[in-house]
């Protein structure tokens, strides 16, 4: 009988531990770059601005972890889009209280073909917003439709210290 209770207890406890959940939603699935993104905007002769803030934003929710559990969000590019422009991700710290993130958390992270630490969080995240910046777009190289496939990974423990 004892072993039955113990097993039930363990199953219940482990099921609670497994209730950690993590999901990402996007404000929109498509971004259009047009003459308004020239520098100066709508000006004949101009090239794209060096840095173009995208209106698309990602919203991250992480739940089911302890209040003081440190974690790190990594981002990785899973596609090889055409063009020379690079995508930079910016966590929005303005909506967070200081207790929700490590002061050494990265301010920005380029999207690269390997996991890059992007946000060092503490405890559950109800609504972490990630903004995007398109850098170094140029008329001769950037004109084809590009699909950005991103692998988001949350691992326990904070992000590794930067250089």
């Amino acid at each position: 009988m004892k072993s039955i209770y113990t097993t039930l207890f363990n199953v219940l406890f482990i099921s609670i531990l497994k209730s950690q959940s993590f999901w990402i939603s996007f404000s929109q699935n498509q971004e259009t770059i047009d003459a308004s993104h020239l520098d100066p905007p709508y000006t004949a002769g101009a090239n794209y601005a060096n840095a173009i803030p995208l209106s698309t934003e990602a919203n991250l929710v992480l739940s089911g972890i302890g209040e003081n559990t440190p974690w790190c969000l990594y981002v990785q590019r899973m596609s090889a889009p055409p063009g020379q422009a690079t995508l930079i991700l910016f966590p929005d710290y303005s909506n967070l209280v200081p207790q929700q993130w490590d002061p050494n958390s990265p301010l920005q992270c380029p999207l690269e073909p390997f996991p890059n630490p992007c946000f060092s969080g503490i405890g559950p995240a109800e609504f972490l917003t990630i903004n995007f910046l398109l850098e170094n777009a140029s008329l001769p190289t950037d004109w084809q439709l590009r699909t950005e496939e991103i692998l988001w990974t949350v691992s326990s423990g904070g992000c590794p210290s930067g250089p």
Binding site: T43, G45, A137
Partner: protein, 168 residues
């Protein structure tokens, strides 16, 4: 003791490391861009006095100060830049895009064009052309005034000529 081991097992899981993954995708679309702008709307002509009496004022072609053209053309299509003029002009004009180095991309001039109401190819951009938008960065368009049919047009005054540039 036997009972304690399985009971304490969940406590060891409190320090469990977790690893969660999520994949997303979104697209970035570059809309086609075709922009053209004239840098200087007013051009001038210096017309020397005839060397001998009896010679016409416009025996030889006269150069007009170049017009500067600024272009941004994305790489989506290879449409050419066409030029035409309105039918009301009192004089003949020949236009030619001068080769030069652009900020990005390149273009191929088509050579001298005798302007009329029919659109003709002035240049063909390629590779995503942006000339630069500051004065002096545009493509110089040389304009040559040929002998006209109405000498009344060649007095010291401002003449209006509607030149149209368009991508087609």
């Amino acid at each position: 003791m036997k009972f304690l081991v399985p009971l304490l097992l969940p406590l060891t899981l409190l320090g469990q490391r977790f690893h969660l993954e999520e994949s997303t995708s979104f697209t970035i679309e570059y809309a086609p861009i075709s922009l053209v702008r004239i840098g200087n709307n007013q051009l001038s002509v210096d017309c020397n006095n005839p060397l001998e009496s009896g010679l016409g004022l416009l025996e030889n072609p006269i150069s007009i100060t170049p017009q500067e053209l600024f272009i941004t053309k994305s790489k989506h299509s290879t449409k050419s830049l066409l030029i035409s003029r309105n039918s009301q002009s009192l004089f003949n004009l020949v236009a030619e895009a001068q080769p030069g180095i652009s900020n990005t991309g390149s273009f191929t001039p088509s050579g001298p064009i005798n302007l009329n109401e029919i659109s003709q190819i002035l240049l063909t951009p390629s590779d995503g052309l942006s000339t630069g938008h500051l004065p002096g960065q545009g493509i110089p368009i040389s304009l040559i005034l040929h002998r006209g049919t109405n000498y009344g047009a060649y007095k010291a005054s401002t003449q209006w000529l509607n030149i149209q540039y368009e991508f087609l």
